[in-house]
């Protein structure tokens, strides 16, 4: 009995101390359940979950890059039209110039790199605030996007490999007729194993150095919950057509950035600059170089987002890119990136993306007009950030 009470007490304490991060997951869960009910069970279907992944992919990629920028106390408003332009250039190269699909993608990524380098240099070398620099970029890339498609209008993309990026699914073992996507289940199990192994190792390390850790039952419950969620999603996807390619692309980028931020020197420097720029500079950090890197990475990721978006629509349109930056910035903030910089996680930014995109997806299913969608998203966004700032203040007192 008393053992049970202790565990419950610990969970309570955990919930109050981490209210902020749990709040985000809780919000996501509530949104999903509400839509499941309101849409009469349409939301939680394998088809719609696959669709949600594809819909959310480009915002997720942008949110990852944006999180770095926001930690550094900058902002990038140009990402939407950089993405739009990237999709258009890819389409023109493939459909009009007959360039090979992979070469076209490479060229587009290189273009993103150059754009990021120019904008980042203006911010760091000349000292124009990022808000102004990228606002100018927003104008310019919007113009370039319209210009590039002015002769042709919307270009339809036929290349199957390109379309598969954000419409396709990972291949299964040849000859599998069971109706269950085996590779998906294998990936699911491996993912669970990797997460559990990682967490166990981290916990043992903490115990070794005498840090406070959650008690064993609570730890097991947490791990079990995470594992169950992953396995259920994989099962649903396996019963349908498997894991979407877009989810794999986002997963790889997420893993790379998460590793970079938490495990490498560059990541430490980014948090350090965001936390106290002068201290970082006096500690020998090349603040300009690190900032420049963040802008380059942002624009390259914007190019990736543009490719994913045009792949999903099988076309490049002059309106692509409109308001992408809004979703990306909102995702990152909903995911707990501090408005005052120095704090933020890319994994949480992805959760933020799913909050925003579940709203879009669910409201689309319900046939709610786009005008209301914006209003609802805005309200959820401001509540999330207000809650974040509030709980930060409470934690500090």
């Amino acid at each position: 009995m008393s053992e049970n009470k202790k565990v419950i007490g610990e969970i309570k304490e955990l919930l109050t101390h981490n209210a902020k991060s749990y709040m985000m997951y809780a919000a996501l869960l509530v949104i999903m359940i509400v839509f499941q009910i309101w849409t009469g069970g349409l939301f939680f279907t394998a088809g719609n979950i696959s669709n949600l992944f594809n819909q959310a992919a480009y915002v997720a990629v942008l949110a990852i890059g944006m999180t770095l920028i926001l930690i550094l106390k900058h902002i990038d408003l140009s990402v939407g039209y950089v993405a739009g332009l990237s999709g258009a250039v890819a389409a023109i190269l493939m459909e009009k110039a007959g360039v090979n699909v992979w070469l076209a993608i490479l060229i587009v990524l290189a273009m993103g790199l150059v754009i990021g380098f120019i904008q980042g240099s203006i911010v760091t070398k000349i000292g124009v605030p990022a808000f102004v620099t990228t606002l100018a970029g927003m104008f310019i890339f919007r113009g370039l996007l319209t210009r590039s498609l002015s002769g042709t209008g919307t270009i339809v993309i036929d290349d199957p490999a390109y379309k598969a990026l954000c419409q396709g699914f990972i291949p299964d073992i040849p000859g599998n007729t069971s109706g269950i996507h085996i590779v998906t289940m294998i990936i699911g199990v491996l993912l669970v194993a990797a997460i559990v192994a990682g967490q166990v190792k981290a916990r043992n390390n903490k115990i070794k150095y005498g840090f406070q850790v959650t008690s064993f039952p609570v730890f097991v419950m947490g791990m079990a919950a995470v594992s169950v969620v992953i396995l259920i999603v994989c099962w649903m996807l396996a019963c349908y057509r498997g894991i979407p390619v877009s989810a794999v692309i986002v997963g790889v980028i997420l893993a790379a950035y998460s590793f970079m931020l938490s495990k490498t020197r560059l990541g430490r420097y980014i948090y350090g600059i965001g936390g106290n720029e002068q201290a970082a500079e006096l500690s020998g950090v090349d603040v300009k170089k690190v900032t420049l890197f963040a802008f380059v990475s942002m624009s390259v990721l914007a190019a990736v987002a543009g490719i994913l978006y045009s792949s999903r629509l099988s076309s490049a349109t002059p309106t692509a890119g409109n308001a992408f930056e809004m979703d990306a910035i909102a995702s990152s903030y909903i995911g707990g990136t501090a408005v005052s910089g120095g704090v933020g996680k890319v994994t949480n930014a992805i959760v933020g993306t799913f909050v925003i995109m579940s709203l879009t997806n669910g409201m689309n299913l319900m046939g709610i007009d786009i005008s209301y969608q914006y209003i609802v998203k805005g309200i959820i966004f401001i509540i999330a950030v207000a809650f974040d700032i509030r709980s930060r203040k409470i934690m500090n007192n």
Binding site: F259, K263, G272, G284, N396
Partner: protein
């Protein structure tokens, strides 16, 4: 006849967390006099004036302010200004982009109905400018005036508000000799016209030249008030009152060993501010040997931190115009802090919250931040090793915290300072520059930091210690350089140095 006092501050006590900045201070100012307030850095002069002008509101201090015969409870600057008290700050509170007349009447605009009466504003601006003898077109932008004239505009602003008591906080610290002389003359004229002046100043020559009364503060207490007519107001006597303290054994002894070879040497280093052209350092020469603590003393603005930062490769708006720095016999003009760190130099900043620590991060991240290279394993950082190293320093320097994952913002000043020192020791420096190593920390933590310093020099490290606290410089240094206005004005060995000698060199204006 009873003396007529315009101001009496009685039993003023003001505490900050951990420090008593003012301790039962009594301060009386006669109507129509020039009253100078002197004392070492941190003696409480500025705090006292902030209490008077309402920056520290009524209720945040104890004691009474009696002004013009009434007890006043000021709740802000606007409040004290209404009563007729103005304060002229070191950093001028003006708007360079606005015309002079707008600057003068900013915040108390002349209205006609609901609108600003610009014509009347200009007329009145001309009048007050005449009073401060500044002969310029009031519609000129303020930015076209030099520092001295801007100060006159600030005084004009005070006069336009009909202020009867004007406080000058280090008014001549950034002025050249002619402008300083001008300002002192103006103060005399103001006195003639019935305005009472309080001047805070480090420049004792000016103080003795102009003061009717001199009040000396030391460690947050009033030491004495000297009347220029009846008391001895020689510089020597003032200095005696300013320092008059005996060094107790708050400085741990270290076995005196002969210092080694010259580790770092600066020769004829000159530096100027790129924006203002102000010469921040003039032909500074100094050196530090292996296993030696060299103290650099000087008053605020003497150029001590600029010297340290220039050596550290962080020029920050300054340009080196001449001279040479060598380290270990090799040329060492470092282009960036990274360059300096790589060559074995470390700089513990004087402002640990502003540009020393990353307060939102934990102890271990702060300690390892300047030398993450040492923890790198391929691409990634070895987290386990990071914890080990941080734990080692936590133990070594006795950083009091439940774990190295404690955020630094929740630590006391002394422990924050130890984290800062740990951070730089982790870079394994040969020369450690400590800028105000014990500012704002309690006596116990100070002792610990002194002990750490002694241990480091015994291991052969060289330490340059910049400090405003005279006893600390005397207690810890093997050798002392004194700076004043960007120059080294003297070098003393630990044996020959006394507080009086250092002060004389430091106020050498």
């Amino acid at each position: 006849m009873e003396q007529d006092h315009i101001l009496e501050m009685r039993h003023i006590t003001k505490e900050f967390p951990g420090v008593k900045a003012l301790n039962d201070v009594n301060f009386k100012v006669k109507r129509g006099e020039i009253h100078c307030l002197v004392g070492e850095n941190g003696a409480g002069k500025s705090t006292l004036m902030k209490v008077l002008s309402g920056v520290w509101k009524y209720g945040t201090y104890t004691g009474d302010i009696v002004y013009d015969g009434e007890v006043r409870k000021f709740t802000g600057i606007a409040d004290s200004e209404k009563a007729g008290i103005a304060i002229i700050y070191q950093e001028l509170a003006l708007f360079p982009e606005l015309p002079i007349y707008e600057n003068i009447f900013f915040g108390h605009e002349i209205l006609k109905g609901k609108q600003i009466d610009w014509n009347e504003t200009v007329v009145q601006a001309k009048e007050v400018l005449k009073k401060v003898r500044l002969n310029v077109d009031p519609s000129m932008k303020l930015e076209r005036l030099n520092t001295g004239n801007r100060q006159l505009v600030e005084i004009a602003k005070a006069l336009s508000k009909k202020c009867r008591l004007i406080i000058f906080d280090e008014p001549t610290s950034s002025l050249n000799e002619d402008d300083s002389e001008n300002l002192l003359n103006l103060m005399r004229e103001l006195k003639e016209s019935g305005v009472t002046c309080i001047m805070i100043s480090h420049k004792l020559r000016e103080v003795t030249a102009i003061a009717d009364t001199i009040t000396v503060l030391r460690d947050g207490s009033t030491i004495c008030s000297l009347d220029a007519k009846t008391d001895d107001i020689s510089e020597a006597n003032i200095i005696k009152h300013m320092v008059g303290r005996t060094i107790t054994d708050i400085y741990p002894k270290r076995p005196g060993s002969a210092p080694g070879d010259i580790m770092l040497s600066v020769k004829d280093l000159s530096v100027e501010n790129t924006a203002t052209g102000h010469k921040s350092l003039r032909k500074v020469s100094m050196n530090v040997r292996r296993g030696e603590i060299v103290g650099i003393q000087g008053l605020m603005g003497a150029g001590r931190s600029t010297l340290a930062r220039t050596i550290f490769g962080h020029t920050d708006g300054h340009r080196i115009t001449g001279g040479e720095i060598t380290m270990d016999g090799k040329k060492a003009m470092f282009a960036s802090p990274q360059d300096a760190i790589d060559h074995g130099l470390a700089y513990v900043s004087e402002d640990r919250k502003g540009n020393g620590l990353i307060l939102m991060q934990d102890i271990k991240s702060n300690i390892t931040f300047a030398n993450l290279k040492a923890l790198a394993e391929g691409l990634s950082i070895n987290d386990a090793k990071e914890v080990q190293e941080a734990e080692r320093y936590k133990e070594d320097l006795n950083i009091k915290a439940p774990s190295v994952e404690q955020k630094t913002e929740s630590l006391s000043g002394g422990n924050q300072q130890k984290v800062q020192i740990a951070k730089w020791l982790f870079t394994e420096p040969k020369v450690l520059i400590l800028d105000e190593p014990t500012r704002g920390i309690d006596v116990g933590a100070k002792y610990e930091i002194y002990t750490i310093m002694n241990r480091l020099v015994e291991q052969g490290m060289s330490i340059i210690m910049i400090s405003s606290e005279l006893p600390e410089v005397l207690g810890m240094s093997d050798r002392i350089y004194v700076m004043s206005e960007g120059s080294i004005t003297g070098e003393l060995s630990a044996k020959e140095a006394t507080e009086e000698k250092i002060m004389k060199m430091a106020v050498n204006a």
